[in-house]
Structures are given as structure tokens and as C-alpha cells.
Subunit: 653 residues, 2 copies
């Protein structure tokens, strides 16, 4: 083996830690169309020579590479951005090379500055220029040969006489590697590009049975669109099982007319591709989807891979379930708890053929609804199914339908949630519901926006869900509901609420239980949408602010600013192109007025130090002219939970 | 592509973030023979089933795997250790599987506890036991079938009657995966195993010319070995160039008898494989190496790949150097600074054949000295040579000589230093010289011992070098010298000092210059080794403590304890097997007595809370009985810089 020097894993230059990437690098990182994708890498080489670097990127399967420059940000880190414009798989590589011209330029300038002889450096420069002249377009050749000639024209150290040879026009022609062989390339990195809804959207969840079924939901949709929501998410609309059906408040003895939990899927009326008859028909469903599109919205369906004991699969495919020694099918258990209305599916049956058939059948459910206009699936409890299943299912589906999105409803350990995102989920539910203090919100947002998972895990913040009524919402008043919605809607680009939020429904099942009392999961709810105390106008305003501010359409652009009061949190977001900056100053205490001096990072806000700047409160319509980094704020939660300030930059008085 | 489900990159179980590993995973992590190598990984799967995991490891190229169990440490992290016993490449994989028996055991125990029927669980358990019975050794079969029978013997929920079937003997037979197909394996990970000197050693550096050449150095070696040093490192012993030779204090006009810098290698007397005539002959060198071995020491040579203008390579291989337009060879420059006595080598000449010949010639220098008994090379400025060169050179050398070690003398940016370690250097000089405050020492040691580089970068702490006189040593007294030596010798397992340290040489070249005044790099030094103020006795004691305490032979086993005085730093180290614990309480202020209450983590010290325990001060011989986690300490720097306490665990009064 000795003497062989060609199998080195290193090139001339070191390129490490290329981002974006997932934890293992085995799956693509994520971006959306039109996003300025930030690419970064550690780039260095031995010695003092100067480097140059770029990112080359392309949609997978296409030939030509696009290029964008990378620039150093210090400590051997380099950064740049590119902007994908099509859906699907992309790849990118980072390339770096020794910038011979810049190295030479730095050397001669330093020596001239020190009054040293640069006779040899002049000649070296002239040769560099001439060498490049042989490779550039004919019309540019003269610029380089003239510069070379000027370098050789004198033997002095008069920088002013040399400088013309080194101006921008020459530098531009000297950019790029001298020859491809001298370029070090990173391994290709994978990037999946979704449509923008994967990153940005306002969601609304409702139970169609409480709105008069699918037809009633279609009527209600106008109001929901009017509040500015983008996505209507429906719990399962499939036939509900009869066996061990749950009654009101999750009891085991239902009344004859109790509707049961929509997640107990399957009855004699069909399984995951059928509509619960009490909600309407497939035709009603298609009309709802159609109406949503007309209103600029879309419908997200629940994808809950489990069966009631009455699901057709139980008799048609017993091999897809766990069996007990007495021949019965195992219901769901987390001992000592029993869930007899649910049969979990065995996603890894002993026979490979059974596994393939099952996975294909799960895929076919998606295809059925995709064919009916659905492009978003909210996936129920994905952490109870194998990661390998999701990796296959999502890749397989998105290969044919790159516009399909998956939201992971996993409230579980951090590594499991991150892994679901890595294997392909477009979005993830989060711990937001349990983050209320300033320090924990800042810590969590920092993790989500700049931590290692930020390259592939997109949070969707829900102040409430049908399963979770927590924190200040439990028994809380309208100020608490406004606060939590505003935080969700501004901290991250995707958020959602579950129906009834606007009416301030706040009664928990018990002191220790996060569920709602009289949970809609087990009964039909009637609501007074016209209640004058409804928060709908506030929600409409917030969604309108979100729409108008591109700064609120990004995840990784958040910065926190200091305040002296732990109840006052200040953060800002900046749009990709820097033209839009939003500063939110939030009173985290829905019970009292709070005040604080702020300590703003003006550079982050794009504001010149010492210059007055205008901020426009999008919630109240007030405008203020601020000067300096330390404004004083006072927030009465009964008026508004926050200042949501459009920062106008310098005031030209 | 649809329907293909076999190319999944995921198994049944997720195994991520396997450590030890290097940053990129392309190079082996590092360990030494006899080290308890800590292996860890994120391991989880969907659902609630319990898992089991192990590490399988072997020297590369051998067949049978050894196994050690991994146990969960919480948050989906698993850990275990294995202990390599041979030098060279090793590989390991992490394996995980669903522990069907443990899952069943947990389920039945929980249901019994809740008073639920377990009839089906009994039968499931019996089947599990019988299934395993068919696979175990004949003599064990009866244990499992009897347990199965006992499970079926009753229909009640009397746990006491079932328990005998589930005792340790059965559990042991039920350990391990049911079938290999159900096991998920990580990708193989690489580990390079060095001899212990790669991790543990006390180094001493001297200039042979100040000791009367190689023969005088051989005489001096007895005293150095007597102080307890393991390695004697010599600056280059090769012929020193004449052209542009440096004079005293790095001046450009040497006196005729100035010896020049040993790093200006090469003259008419030869290059990197010759001995400077004024030091002696190759025979003298071999006698020195021989004497070192007799004293239980070894010699480390300097490997400085650069040439004086008089080096034979300059005329024999001009193609290995950079050329200027006038045909001259380029000397070293960092404009505006010029180093005309040094020609840097061009490690990447344009012609591939030249590069191969050069790299081979560099390798042959190593082989020359290896053939003369050298097994440690201190590499001068490796960061000015290509990473790809080191990756090749070190792997190539260690493939034939796995006992050869390389110390990287790179004082440069963190990522460059880490990369040198990743591509193969056995040890690294560090920033220790510039870390003096408690917070920065704790932060730096935490980074070095548990940060991502801890798996492959081994620090060697030098309080001084011929190039660096810094911090409290500049003009400092004996207390400062004792302090910095004690820190270096106890914080990490490898440390070294440069000759003259024991005499307290403390005069800097200037206020702003880190060099020594009258640096030995440019002149011969005469020293009074018998000075009664010499720190040699103190150093001897410290090296003796190091030898006797295996806790001080490891890097990754350090823990810091709180103190209330920023001048008092407390840290402890624990040997691999836990039998030896050393607690160091250091006064970081060499100018005054400091005192503090400590807040010890007794669990880390292996001491039971509430029990008295004995600590033995290895520097003073004093013994104390402490009780509780909050002892009070007072340290007078004129007496000792620290308590170095052997912790004897619980006192059996």
C-alpha cells in the first residue's frame, strides 16, 4: 500500500460542515420556492494564500449548474445564498480555490505600503494577467494585456501608477479559478424544494360534524377565509366504528346517538377512502375542496393509520394486525391503559410480501385523496409508525406529487420529532403550547431557527388543539387568547388554531388533564359564531399583517432584542431581501400592564445608529418616530398583546 | 420508481450520532491501548417497545467481533465501553433490537400491578420462552421450558407465583435479539488505537547545543529522567544553514560564531537526515537514543519541513520550491515580513510526478529516523503544509509503524487545529499558554474533554516553549512557575516544559513580544542546574503523582466543582475503572493566599453523601477527613499552588 497517494479523501482545500444539511446527511435539507437558501461551509487551506468560493446548484436531473458567490464571515466560515424556483429535488456543491490574483494583489499592496521593492511582484502580476488573457473572451483580452503592460512599464513603487491596472474591470476578469483542476469540491448536498405553503400558512381546524357536515362546512368556509386563513384542516372524515365507541368525555358507555371519535376509523360503511355518512358524500367533499380553491384556501386531511374493530381491513387483511394467542386482534394498549376502540396496524408483519402490500395500501389511501384535490395531510401520531415507512411513503408520494405536504402530529421526545422531519415530513407540531416564559420562548425559537434542525424541520405553532388546552388559556380570558395567537402567528411562519379559539373556549377536562371538558372529539358542538365578543376581528387583523409582511414568511430570520422586564419580549424578523423588517414587542403577561426600556440591536433592524426612524404599529395603526436603541414601551393587555411594528428605517425628515 | 421499498436507508430502529467519531467521519477517531473507549449513540424506534443495544468491535482485518452492552442514559442516548488491546485500525458498529422479552416483562408486570387479567400475557410469555429454548444450549433449555410451564400453570394474577419464571437466569438466556434479521446496525465506525504514550506523557524540551551536544545531552538525560519525564524532545539536530543565518535575538547580522537557528535546516554538511557537526555524529545520536531507552524514556525529534538556502534539496530538487520570475527561489514571506533564511517547500508542484517524489522524500526522512529508534515526531508548523499531505504521510507511516506518534505544533485557528488532529496527528499543542482565568480554563477544558473534538484531538499542555513566554510567567516568580506546571500536569494527561523552566527563566524579549530575551533559538545557553532554588524537586513530585494516579492518565474524565472564589478552581478526575479519584483544588493567583468554600459533587467523587471521607494531599503529605460537600480551603501560593488530593472514598472509622 505504500507510496499510493491518489486515494486521498482531501483536496487542496478543506471544505467541511456544509449547510443546509440534515443530521445524518442521508436525507435532503428543505427549502421553499423563492426562499433565499443560505449556504455555508468551513473553508480553509494551509498557509496565507487567499481563497475564493462559490455554491453551484441545480434541480436534480438537470445539466447546467447555477453559481452564487460565497464570502467569508470570519473564523473560516463562508456564506452565500441561492434562490430555487422549481419544486422537487435539488443538489448543490461548494467549490473553493486559491485566489491567485487576490493573493498577489494583497502581497504587492502590502509591500508597496511598506516601501519595499516590488519589481518581481510586478512581473508576477503581469504573467498572471497574461495567463488569464489567453482564456477570456476576445473583447476582454485587451484589458488584461494592457494591465500587464502597465505593470511592467515602471520599476518604481508608485502605487498610483500601478493601480489603474488593478481596477474593478480587471479584478472581475481575474475572478474564478485559474483551471478547474485547482478547484476543491464538497460532496454534493441534497435539498428538497417545496411550494411556499410548506413554510408559510395560517391553519384553521374544525370538526365538520359541528358545522352541519361537509355541506355546512362549505358554508362556514367563507367566514374562515374572511379571517385570512390559508388552510382548513379536518379531523378524519371517514366512517366511525361502532365497537367500543367512546361516549361524551371519553367515557366507555356511549349514548345511542353519540357520534364517536373520528379517529376510530372504519365501519361497515368503509375505511380510509370512504366518507362518514352523517357528514355527507364524496360529492359533498369534492364540492368543499372546490369551494376552498375558489376562496384561495385548501383543505388538509387527517391521515390516521389505525383502525376501529369494524374497519374493512380487519377482516380483509388480518395479517396487517397484531394477534394474541387466542386468535384475537390486539387493541391498542399502553399498560395499564387500554384503547379497545382502536386496532393499531402492524407496520412490519413477519412476511415481507405482507409488509409491501400494507405499505402500498397506505400509499393508495393518499393517492385516493390526492386524486380528489387534497395536497396537505396532517399525519396523526407518526412516531408510533416506523421511520423507514415514512421515509419511503413521503419520498414515493412526493416523487409523483412534489406539491404534497405532510404535517407531523408528533408530541414526543426531541430526537424522535427531529427524525420525523429528517425522513421527510414537511412540517412539525411543536412544544410551543408549553412554552410561555420569555427565556423558554427565546431558547426554543433559537433552537428552531438556527439550531441544527433548522435546515429541515419546519415548526407549525398551535396555541390549542382538540387534545391540548394548556398554559394561560386554561380558564383564561380574551387577553390570554390574543397573546398566544399573536405569538404563534408572528414567531414562526406557520401557525394554526382549533375552532372555538375565537370564542375563548377555556374549560379544561380537569385540573390535571390537558383535554377540553366536553371535548368535541366525542360530541357535536354548537357555537355562536356571531358572538360580539368573538376574537375574529383580531385574528383577521393578525392574518392580514402576516400576509402583508414578507418578514413574517421566514423561519430562520428571527433576532431577539433585550428588554429589562422578563414579561416583555422583543424580537424582529427581516425579509430575505432586507426590504421588510418587523419588530414585535410582546407583553407576555395577559393579566397586567407591563413596561420596559428596550435595548434594540439597530443593525439587525437595518436602522442607522443616531438617526431617527419610524415604526408603524400594525395592530393599532399608530406611528412613532424613535431615535436610538432604547425606546420605552408600555403594553396594556386589554388593549393589545403587543406592538407589531413595521420598521421604516431612517426617517427622511 | 414507485413501489420499490427495499432501498430504504433506515432499518427498523434508528441509530444516529454514534461516537466516537471525527467531524467528517472520514478519518478514524482515536483511543489508546487499555483505554475504556466510551461508545454512545442515539437509539430509538416507534411506539413503546423496549430496546436493547450493544457495541461490536474488532481490530480491522480480523474476523470475530467482541461485544459489550450499551445501556440507556436517558433522552434516547445509549452508552457503553470497550477496551482495545492492540495497536492499529479498529472498527466498531452499534447494534440495536427490540427486546421482546423485556417488553413483555414490563407489560405483564404493569398489568399485574393494576390487577388486570394477564391470561393472554402468560401464554405470550410461555411462547417467547419456548421459542428461545429451541436456540439455546441443550443444558439451558430446561430452564426456559420450566419457566414456560410455570407461566401456564395458573390462571390467576399472583405475581409471586409467576416471578420465579422470570428471574435473572431466565432473563440472561432471553437476552440478545430473537433473530439476526431483527437487528439494526449502524454503519461501521473507524477507530485508531495508539500506544498509551499518545495520550499520557511528561515531555521535556532542550537544545542539545546548550548541553554540550548530543554526548552532553546523554549525560544530562539522567537528571531529566530523575525528574520523572517520559519524553525528551529535541529541536532539529540537523546541519544549520549559513546563508542569511540569524544572530542573537533574531538579528540579521550574526557574529562569526553565532550558531544560528536549528530550524534553518541544511548546509553543505547535509539536510534532514544529517547531524549538525557541532552536536556530534550519528553514532552520538544513536547512543543518546539508546541511553533514553535504558532510562525508560524516549527521544522525540523535530520534523520541520523547510530548508535553509544551503540545503542539498535546493540544488538537487529545485522543482520542489517556489520560483520567482528572475529564476530565484522564493524565501518565506508574510508581507511585509521576510524570512530570508528559510525556503518554504512547494508541497503541490505543478507536475504530479514531482509531487509524488517530494512526498516520498518527506516520508523517507521519517523512515531514516524511525530506523534509528525514533518513534515520536514533533511536527513544526504543520498548518503551513497541505492537509492532504499529512493525511497521506501519517496513514502511510503508521500502517507500517503503528507505534509512531506525531505532535502537531500548530498555534492557529481552532478549525485548522482540529482538522490536523482529524487527518491523523496523535497530539496537538493548544491554547493553554493563553488560558489563565478560571472561567476560560474551565471552558477550554470542557471543550477539549467533552466537545466534538474530544474523540480525536489530544491536547499536550506546555506552560512555555522556546517561542512562548506568556501570562504570569513573564517576570513571574517561582509560585507562578509552580502554578502553571501543576495545571498543565494535572488538567490533561500530556504536558511538557522547555528547559530552563525549572530555573524560573522569565525575561521576555520585550513588553509586546512573547519570545524570550536572548532566545536559545539563536545562541548557546549555559545554565546552573544545581541552583538550590531550582524547581526540580517540585517537578519530580508532580511527575511522581502523575505516575501513581491512573485518574491523571485520561483526558475525557474531568469534572469541575464549584467554588465561591474565582481564584480557586476545583476539578476532579476519575480512572477508567473508578478505583482512583484525584481532586485538585488550585489557587490561580500566584501572588496571594486565596480561600473559599467548595461545593463538591460528591457523586462524581464516588463519595456517599453524609459519610466522612479521607483526602490525602499528595503535594504536602497531609491527610484530612472531610464530611459533606462544602469543605473550606485556604491556599498560600508560597507553600503550594494546590491541594492535589487522592480521594479515598468513605472512611471506615
Amino acid at each position: 500500500m505504500r507510496g499510493g497517494q491518489t486515494d486521498a479523501v482531501l483536496g487542496r482545500i478543506v471544505i467541511d460542515e456544509v449547510r443546509p444539511r440534515t443530521l445524518t446527511g442521508a436525507f435532503p435539507a428543505k427549502a421553499v420556492v423563492g426562499e433565499h437558501v443560505r449556504v455555508s461551509a468551513d473553508i480553509f487551506r494551509d498557509g496565507h494564500d487567499l481563497l475564493a468560493a462559490r455554491v453551484c446548484w441545480r434541480p436534480a436531473g438537470t445539466k447546467p449548474w447555477s453559481e452564487e458567490p460565497l464570502a467569508t464571515t470570519g473564523e473560516d466560515r463562508w456564506e452565500g445564498t441561492f434562490e430555487p424556483s422549481t419544486l422537487g429535488h435539488h443538489e448543490f456543491v461548494v467549490e473553493a480555490w486559491t485566489d491567485t490574483y487576490a493573493t498577489w494583489h494583497h502581497k504587492i499592496a502590502t509591500k508597496v505600503g511598506a516601501g519595499q521593492s516590488v519589481e518581481l511582484e510586478r512581473e508576477e502580476g503581469a504573467r498572471l494577467l497574461e495567463s488569464r488573457a489567453r482564456k477570456v473572451a476576445k473583447e476582454d483580452r485587451g484589458i488584461l494585456t494592457a494591465a500587464a503592460k502597465s505593470l511592467r512599464a515602471d520599476t518604481g513603487t508608485d502605487w498610483d501608477r500601478m493601480r489603474p491596472a488593478l481596477e474593478a474591470e480587471v479584478a472581475a476578469l481575474m475572478a474564478g479559478p485559474a483551471k478547474p483542476a485547482a478547484v476543491t469540491r464538497s460532496k454534493p448536498q441534497k435539498l428538497w424544494v417545496d411550494r411556499e405553503r410548506a413554510l408559510v400558512g395560517a391553519w384553521y381546524e374544525l370538526f365538520p360534524r359541528s358545522e352541519g357536515g361537509l355541506a355546512g362546512t362549505r358554508t362556514r368556509l367563507t367566514a374562515i377565509a374572511g379571517m385570512g386563513f390559508d388552510v382548513l384542516y379536518l379531523p378524519p372524515v371517514h366512517p366511525i366504528g361502532r365497537t367500543y365507541r367512546k361516549g361524551r368525555n371519553n367515557t366507555l358507555d356511549p349514548a345511542p346517538d353519540d357520534p364517536g371519535s373520528p379517529w376510530a376509523i372504519g365501519s361497515a360503511d368503509g375505511g380510509h377512502t370512504a366518507i362518514e355518512p352523517s357528514l355527507g358524500t364524496l360529492t359533498d367533499f369534492e364540492a368543499l375542496v372546490q369551494r376552498a380553491h375558489e376562496l384561495g384556501m385548501e383543505i388538509a386531511l387527517d391521515y390516521a393509520l389505525q383502525c376501529s374493530p369494524d374497519h374493512p381491513w380487519v377482516t380483509e387483511h388480518p395479517e396487517w394486525f397484531h394477534h394474541r394467542p387466542d386468535g384475537s386482534i390486539a387493541y391498542a394498549e399502553n399498560p395499564p391503559k387500554k384503547y379497545q376502540d382502536i386496532y393499531p396496524i402492524d407496520f412490519w408483519p413477519a412476511a415481507e410480501a405482507d409488509r409491501v402490500a400494507l405499505w402500498d395500501a397506505c400509499r393508495d389511501i393518499l393517492e385516493f385523496w390526492i386524486a380528489r384535490g387534497i395536497r396537505i395531510f396532517r399525519v396523526d401520531n407518526p412516531h408510533t409508525k416506523p421511520m423507514a415507512f415514512w421515509a419511503w411513503l413521503i419520498a414515493d408520494t412526493q416523487e409523483v406529487h412534489p406539491d404534497v405536504l405532510f404535517l407531523a402530529e408528533a408530541f414526543t421526545r426531541p430526537k424522535v420529532m427531529a427524525k420525523l422531519a429528517e425522513v421527510g415530513f414537511s412540517q412539525s407540531y411543536t412544544y410551543f403550547t408549553w412554552r410561555n416564559e420569555r427565556w423558554e420562548l427565546e431558547e426554543y425559537l433559537t433552537e428552531l431557527s438556527v439550531g441544527p434542525t433548522a435546515d429541515y424541520m419546519r415548526p407549525n405553532f398551535w396555541p390549542n388543539t382538540p387534545d391540548i388546552l394548556s398554559g394561560p388559556l386554561r380558564g383564561g380570558g380574551p387577553a390570554a387568547f390574543r397573546l398566544r395567537l399573536l405569538l404563534a402567528a408572528t414567531l414562526v411562519p406557520s401557525y394554526g388554531i382549533y375552532s372555538g379559539y375565537e370564542l375563548g373556549e377555556n374549560e379544561p377536562a380537569s385540573e390535571s388533564n390537558e383535554e377540553y371538558l366536553y371535548s368535541e372529539k366525542y360530541e357535536v358542538k354548537k357555537r355562536e359564531w356571531d358572538d360580539p365578543r368573538s376574537l375574529a376581528p383580531f385574528i383577521t387583523t393578525v392574518n392580514d399583517i402576516r400576509r402583508r409582511h414578507p418578514a413574517l414568511h421566514r423561519l430562520r430570520n428571527i433576532s431577539f432584542h433585550r428588554s429589562e422586564n422578563d414579561n416583555i419580549m422583543a424580537f424582529s424578523k427581516r425579509s430575505d431581501d432586507g426590504s421588510d423588517v418587523v419588530l414585535c414587542v410582546v407583553n407576555l403577561d395577559p393579566g397586567s400592564t407591563q413596561e420596559s426600556t428596550l435595548h434594540l440591536d439597530l443593525e439587525v433592524l437595518g436602522v442607522a445608529a443616531g438617526e431617527p426612524f419610524e415604526v408603524h404599529d400594525e395592530l393599532t395603526g399608530d406611528a412613532f418616530t424613535w431615535q436610538g436603541a432604547h425606546p420605552y414601551v408600555r403594553l396594556d393587555p386589554w388593549v393589545a398583546p403587543a406592538h407589531v411594528l413595521g420598521v421604516r428605517g431612517r426617517v427622511t425628515a
